[in-house]
Symmetry: C2
Subunit: 200 residues, 2 copies
DNA sequence: CCTTTAATTGAACACTGTTTAATATGGCAA
DNA sequence: TTGCCATATTAAACAGTGTTCAATTAAAGG
């Protein structure tokens, strides 16, 4: 069977990404092979290599979609009619919730290592910047007289905290026996940082 | 060549771990195979499996040693004659510095996934607790009247932040073009959290 | 010295990512 | 309609992976 022309290259790429995403709900990315993805879309590995440079390239494309979904998820419920602290708390909780809902997708975003000399694509940085802008917007609303540099700095401090809690709790490296849950910890973190930044 | 009795099982295990650690200075753990380790110590893969249950088991042992080293490193310069904030800042900077010095060892600690139904061993939790105790000690010194529960909670908030910054900066996911460095950010984080916790 | 015991190996198994020659079909020109 | 060409697709190959296990070989014990 050759030259069946059933799908365009673009369609094959989309099918692959969808199939891979579906597999990630069941298996973590280290357990997923190129042949599994190929089989899932009814093609052979060779075909995948006409559409992606290599496996890492395919995973990178999945990561792009994951970050898009995460970005949307983190905007849920955000509104200018809320206080800045409320919005920041919502974002933090959403970030953590997304990681819980799609742990394998989320893990892949932060554990993918590209082959040497492969630069990480510019849209990756753009995606990260997009999330930071959400935070910076709220931080500016919180204390309008703070300099843009400080706002950028504080956004990074805040995101690091939220991200760290999410990583550690996802890997059970955070808790002794049933102390407070992560949601409480996240709310606390946001509250305490907001307190010092709101000029209190 | 069989039954040469050149090394005891214990010695073979130690040799393996040392060889693996040496390899980690050059390659990240995904690029290291059991056969590479075996060759480095002058044995065959089969021998490794008389000493470790599986590859993940071997990596877990390396992680134990890495955490020991990290624990010692994080105590560098700590002294009761320093302020609590100073000690906490030292620890945060040491934590980050250690990750920079041994990125592959450090990565392995947080990215190793055990096979299903393999419980993470109890010394792992003990090692984590040990680090938390260092933090809790300083936090108690900072505000003696705070309840033990709150101290535990705050230690986790603080460590999450430090860990998050370290992870993200190690993967270049934290910075736009040359803003402030991670050290400054870490110092800031500690300072701001300490401010709210010292009852100011 | 000869047998038992166990440390060590080498080969096998089923998999992995990646490359490439061979193939078979859809579309086009005559 | 026929025949050819371009190319989408595959099957097979390669060098590697983790893991297991029968076979081997040497040390130790009687």
């Amino acid at each position: 069977m050759a030259r069946r022309n059933q799908h365009t290259k673009d369609e094959i790429q989309q099918l692959s990404l969808q199939a891979l995403e579906a597999l990630l709900y069941e298996h973590n990315h280290e357990a997923i092979s190129t042949r599994m993805v190929a089989k899932a879309i009814g093609y052979t590995v060779g075909t995948l290599y006409t559409v992606f440079k290599h496996q890492a390239d395919m995973l990178l494309h999945v990561n792009a979609r994951t970050m898009d979904r995460m970005f949307l998820h983190c905007q849920r419920g955000i509104s200018d009619s809320n206080t800045a602290e409320h919005n920041l708390t919502l974002m933090a909780l959403s970030y953590h919730q997304f990681a819980l809902q799609e742990p394998n997708h989320w893990n892949l975003v932060f554990s993918l290592r590209l082959p040497e000399n492969e630069p990480l694509p510019q849209w990756q940085q753009a995606n990260i910047d997009r999330i930071f802008h959400l935070l910076e917007y709220e931080l500016a609303r919180l204390s309008p007289e703070t300099s843009p540099q400080s706002i950028q700095k504080n956004a990074r401090i805040l995101w690091s905290g939220v991200h760290g809690m999410t990583t550690l709790s996802l890997n059970n490296k955070l808790f002794i026996e049933g102390i407070t849950d992560v949601e409480t910890l996240l709310t606390n973190l946001v509250h305490q940082l907001v307190l010092t930044w709101s000029g209190a």
